[in-house]
Symmetry: C3
Subunit: 262 residues, 3 copies
């Protein structure tokens, strides 16, 4: 089976930028499929992009070559990484975008390379490395070039690791971070589903909200806020046919505290 | 020719949900194409999704396997249906989403099955049946499993049939429903193009609007409201280079009355 | 290598219109790829669509067949063109949508045909020529019909050529037009990168803005406005991690003057 490209960016779909990426990949590696994971990561919100990746790894084709670009530092000195986990490969800037995926799905066999400058011929633009450097690198991988030919291996522990990679245990309880507010207003936390979450209350901006534990949205009584293991592999704050984010004034990047989780 | 998946949802494109659907389909049925019909159905607006499907059937590949998901009842007891019309197959919750397509394009040969719980191995999430149940079922159909292996056949007349499936003839005239306000502000009604519509006036929220019959938008005099057989197979209320919805304060779900159609 | 369709429209992705286009192309020319360049051209903004095309030509597959539809005159008498440059082919209404691409990338070998009415069998809708006329024409080209079988050749100079095709040299300086404000707030001008732009100031709506020349966004000091050769092949007005459009109240279609470029 030929590799399949997977694209994740904060470019949006209004501009021609994603189309140009697709064009370059099709031209350089024409037999491969191409799946858009999302281009709707909010501008420069690396934590949301990191969540999308970590949540999606189990659903990506086994031979996926994923190009992940949320890159406020484009043109500066930040490195570009190539991460391999199983048969799947990820190319992304070294700014934390890959950290949750590696933490959740690395299973001890993850390997990472720092791409060398100059791997691409021609004169790449200074503002669109995704199209001019990362896409050609992805196409090289798709057509048989091994990662070691594109850069130097480095320890996975040397990848940039931001504070939001996991919740923090404090005297006031577990302090978690909202990584993403989805289209339905569900608020996804940086707490993997595998963690126990015996929480009956959440604190946020001085407000206490009682929580109901449920396993799907329709099970939530109207007007109540639920805590559930959503489909994304992380705990979520949700409401039934309503937006928990709007009801509670929650936003991506906010911290919330669960006082009874210690 | 291999089957081609067609996706219709209300998930939007900002979240990774559609990308995960695509990933699962690519993994389980790699040789198939995949076309996005739309992911912009407004949240939980089943009638708009039903219109999109009915309007698009003639333009879908002959061997389309369409996954249609506008599913406010996910996780509850609503059934999942598999509808076959000609060579095309549709998988959707039993909430009216398939009713217009079956009514417009069934031609007496439509057949429908109710999917059995447990057709998919593993442990599906309670909140994302599209990815965890419907997509694997679609992949099974694409790779040769017949519908009868996935569920029990039922009469098409037993499918959920909402009130908006057709306009209502009343003493005040024909009462129609706006199924969709498109990107250009055109308002699409639940009246198939095949129906005669000798209407010169529309009533809505106490206001009377004279209507001009035209066959394309540019033929409408500026400032006038047109009634035309649009490209979607249903009658539309439209303006020329302007939004009829904004001009007349029309919204999806609104009822409008045509007093001279009886 | 089979041809690859490339789609550019102002249809947005909420409605099923783009999905219907994709369905028709897949049905009529099933072996071909299909890339969405963008469907987010603002309604009827031909200059923005023209920019998207011109900026993207170098990144399109060599055998691209591009369907470009920003078409306020649909249903009226405007012609439909087929432009060939190298191995790439473009189908679009004759309203200026192709003018920048032809000017930037024509290289003297561009050829253009005016499609004959009636090339498509059946009864096309009067409101959706993209689906009912242009897509079938594109599929014919993809499956081997030569352009001369679809229409009459005409001189490229006879294509519609709008005023915004190039900036204007005046006594007050160079007057340029904003063709597009992108997702990040960068304002793209109708000045190709190949032009010298020794500008230190921009005037717009009575305001003078000093400009810093940089080569990537992160090089811009906070609070300053930059003039740079962006990745799209045209000069851009930009800010660092901020929206130049919002800071300076710039909009697509606005004229800006560079007094020191004469």
């Amino acid at each position: 089976m030929p590799p399949c490209f997977v694209l994740l960016t904060d470019f949006g779909l209004a501009d021609p930028y994603v189309g140009q990426l697709r064009g370059v990949l099709h031209q350089l590696a024409p037999g491969c499929g191409c799946i858009d994971l999302s281009h709707g990561v909010p501008h420069f919100r690396v934590e949301t992009g990191a969540l999308y990746l970590a949540a999606s790894v189990p659903y990506l084709p086994f031979h996926a070559i994923c190009l992940a670009v949320v890159d406020p530092g484009v043109g500066s000195q930040r490195a570009i990484l190539c991460l391999r986990m199983g048969h799947r490969t990820f190319i992304a800037p070294d700014n934390g975008l890959l950290c949750l995926a590696a933490a959740q799905h690395g299973n001890g066999d993850a390997r990472v390379w720092r791409l060398r400058p100059g791997i691409v011929s021609g004169n790449p633009s200074a503002t669109f490395h995704a199209r001019d450097i990362m896409a050609p690198a992805a196409a090289k991988l798709a057509t048989g070039t091994p990662p070691e030919a594109l850069g130097e291996e480095m320890p996975t522990a040397a990848m940039h690791s931001p504070v939001w990679i996991r919740p923090e245990t404090t005297d006031s309880g577990l302090v978690a971070r909202i990584l993403h507010v989805d289209h339905f207003g569900n608020c996804i936390l940086n707490i993997p589903s595998a963690a126990d979450m015996p929480a009956h209350e959440m604190r946020h901006k001085g407000r206490r909200t009682p929580l109901v534990a449920v396993d799907h949205y329709a099970a939530l009584p109207t007007g109540h806020i639920g805590l559930l293991c959503g489909s994304q592999g992380y705990w979520e704050i949700a409401a039934n046919r309503d937006s928990a984010a709007t009801l509670l004034d929650l936003h991506t990047g906010d911290s919330v505290t669960f006082p009874d989780v210690k």
